[in-house]
Symmetry: D2
């Protein structure tokens, strides 16, 4: 399983407070966390050539993690295009926190992906409730996951109805959020996870890392081939067409 | 209810055979068909200024029908943008036949919308089976709708799993197709209907017109407001945040 | 639209505290609340003959509301049978609060309908968030509904994944709950609403009554006929079967 | 993985024609087919004590296959109860063909599970189209599966909307059918497969056996525990309830 963790990697370089929390970048923290679950992952960042995601690399990638926030617009058109194509071809995609507004997530969802949010100096408690305990992404989790300090992301969340809703968050300030959403698109699987603000060490949480490891395995499952669902011109019918009426005549019969 | 029927309107002008079937254009046939159901609709076509869909007009539109085939690429970027925005704001969208590959449908679905297809000289029988007889879009239909001559559209159809699947087509040549698919996106409702090839008088079929009239009413239902789901910065919590731990400390507790 | 509000009607007779809150029974409060929305409803209670739901009455009912708690087991087998049948025939069903454990709801869901709960002397705040603002059941609601005192119902809620999830509740004590769930079953529509404990005047809340009025209209929508989806023996094929191979021979061909 | 194949096992004993097709019973054919995929399965039949499914055995079962037709009513109440309980606890269930009308499937679906059908002397062609090629149940399949002789099962099929629809059947006689339907219920997974009439050697088809092997693995996936979703009385709130207003007072605030 080839996993690549993509990170915008700006906050950690530009903001001392964030750097203290994530000295090796958010991607580094996730990489270490996945390793503890036996998943070797590589990393890629926005400011590398081709945004760190040249075509040949994406071709070998089974699951791509995506964290971005302030520089969504800097991701190149053709990178967005090829990531979308790879997801439809079967690559898994795990979108994290503010990645809800990334170009690739909006592209794949077709909606604004808007939500309500609140950042408070010390953060607030977030509690993720497992609403589908039997789901592979919830394996090994307790009934809920506690985050003592988090940024609030709340409803309404303008995404398509999830194909599978596995986590719902409670916030101390009074809101709720569909924080664990699964989608099937083409041959690919997409998972969105709500928490992950750069100002809190969310990706040090053992339960969050458990979710991410589960999500990597869930999203990377072999998906019946490797090529995108194609346009197929089936010129030869499977059954004889004799007896088909001529066009221009329309008759309806109903039972 | 303000309904606008958008048509590419090229086949009918360039191809004598098609013109004979749709002398007033596909949009004209649908317009007449909806009128028989008490729905007054206007029309718009690709070659009008702003592709017939200036912003002010879209603002007043409750439901937009969309038929396109050979000129998808000619629809302007900002027209696609504003139709998407209006759908997310609550405008209904009914996408017809080869509109599966339109820029607006692909934009809203996030997938390739590829499918299998076959065009044969005289066409072949298509039979649409009602799989959700209680759905508003199926009101007044018999158990199935017969089209004596149609173009084959078949699986796999690369769309997100429909939020509601109401029609499945049987084809004489041996294929099946999810030909009636409902989606909720933002505040809007989207319906895709499979049959509608320009070489067959599909839009003269009373049952197809019944479906279209039902779809117009279903998609135009008032959707709780009028503005898109916004980014909301809820700076003030609804509940007191006293007692929230400081960031940098992470503790988990599970039951 | 014929609406019948069914109530177990035991707490209000046996418990003075509850009687003070609902002097005319929970059914009476809902009846009055719906009337204010222009919906004339009748009532039925457990201790009436045939549990208040003789077959002839159910036949005329478009939407049935259901509130029960301590006497689920006293609802007669044939009443459960015929309510299920009527729902599959197209009657709407609105299940309230502790009705999650009613025989009819468990019958229609197929699951245990278990959940987590907590009753505290003064109750706790519940806040219902609208997660699908465009849904008919949320018409006229603000972004959220506040209930200052409620019983906690929490996840995991052992129901099938809702066909449409429209409300999620936040509880002061730290839980979340899928408190507004829509289901399509047969020709019928089912809505489950979480809040409604007998010790709190939930059914005096204008917003809750708005939800119930919306739900009545949503669930009562004409559903394409009136009879249940039948077993149909389609002895006559719609297409010729000539050329079908004989049984005992099996050949597969794939493309 | 403990797999048990349950079969009514009446046709094969009472009807010489069926016995010729399935000399070791339908359960025997499936057992042999799964073995070729490396899955060791046991069998159980209706006329064994406790219908072959004593509680201790079910406790050890990860996936149960179910084939029944003319003797659904002979399955004992407590067997149906305990199979349902085990599914909600996480046991997989694969329901085959006429098992759509089994007590256990109707129990778990909550609907009539009625459908349209036609039996013809020589049968008719059925072609199962893969509509979700990336699904685990479709692994290794071609674009479609051909059955030269089958019994027609057609729409409308009165089941809840499938959580995942993976196969749709085309019939020579003109019908379609949602023939591969996935459901999540409690901790369990349920798969329904349409074809499997006793008069045709459906369970000798390599592709059908591939589907069944895939379904066994999909349904048996470990589902996060082992016990059913319980009623939980969470007497202790996770958050302080101080400041909760007293009952009897109701105030609403909306934004």
């Amino acid at each position: 399983m080839q996993v690549v963790i993509w990170n915008e990697y700006r906050h950690e370089r530009d903001d001392e407070e964030v750097r203290r929390i994530y000295p090796h970048g958010i991607h580094g923290a996730i990489q270490r966390g996945l390793a503890a679950h036996g998943i070797e992952a590589q990393t890629a960042t926005l400011d590398e050539p081709e945004n760190g995601l040249p075509a040949a690399r994406l071709e070998r990638t089974d699951v791509l993690f995506w964290w971005g926030h302030i520089a969504h617009a800097e991701v190149a058109d053709d990178v967005v295009d090829r990531v979308q194509r790879r997801v439809l071809d079967g690559m898994g995609l795990v979108v994290l926190h503010s990645g809800h507004h990334s170009r690739i997530f909006r592209r794949l969802m077709g909606t604004s992906c808007n939500l309500a949010w609140r950042e408070t100096p010390g953060g607030e408690r977030e509690r993720l409730w497992v609403v589908d305990p039997a789901h592979a992404i919830c394996a090994g989790l307790a009934a809920h996951v506690e985050l003592p300090a988090s940024e609030m992301y709340g409803e309404p969340f303008d995404v398509p109805p999830p194909d599978e809703l596995v986590l719902i968050s409670w916030f101390q300030g009074g809101e709720v959020f569909r924080s664990g959403c699964c989608y099937r698109r083409g041959r690919g699987r997409i998972f969105y996870l709500g928490p992950g603000h750069e100002a809190f060490p969310i990706y040090e949480s053992p339960s969050i890392l458990q979710i991410l490891a589960n999500a990597a395995r869930w999203a990377a499952a072999p998906h019946g081939g490797g090529s995108r669902l194609q346009v197929i011109n089936r010129t030869e019918p499977l059954e004889p067409l004799a007896g088909a009426p001529r066009p221009g005549f329309l008759h309806e019969q109903a039972t």
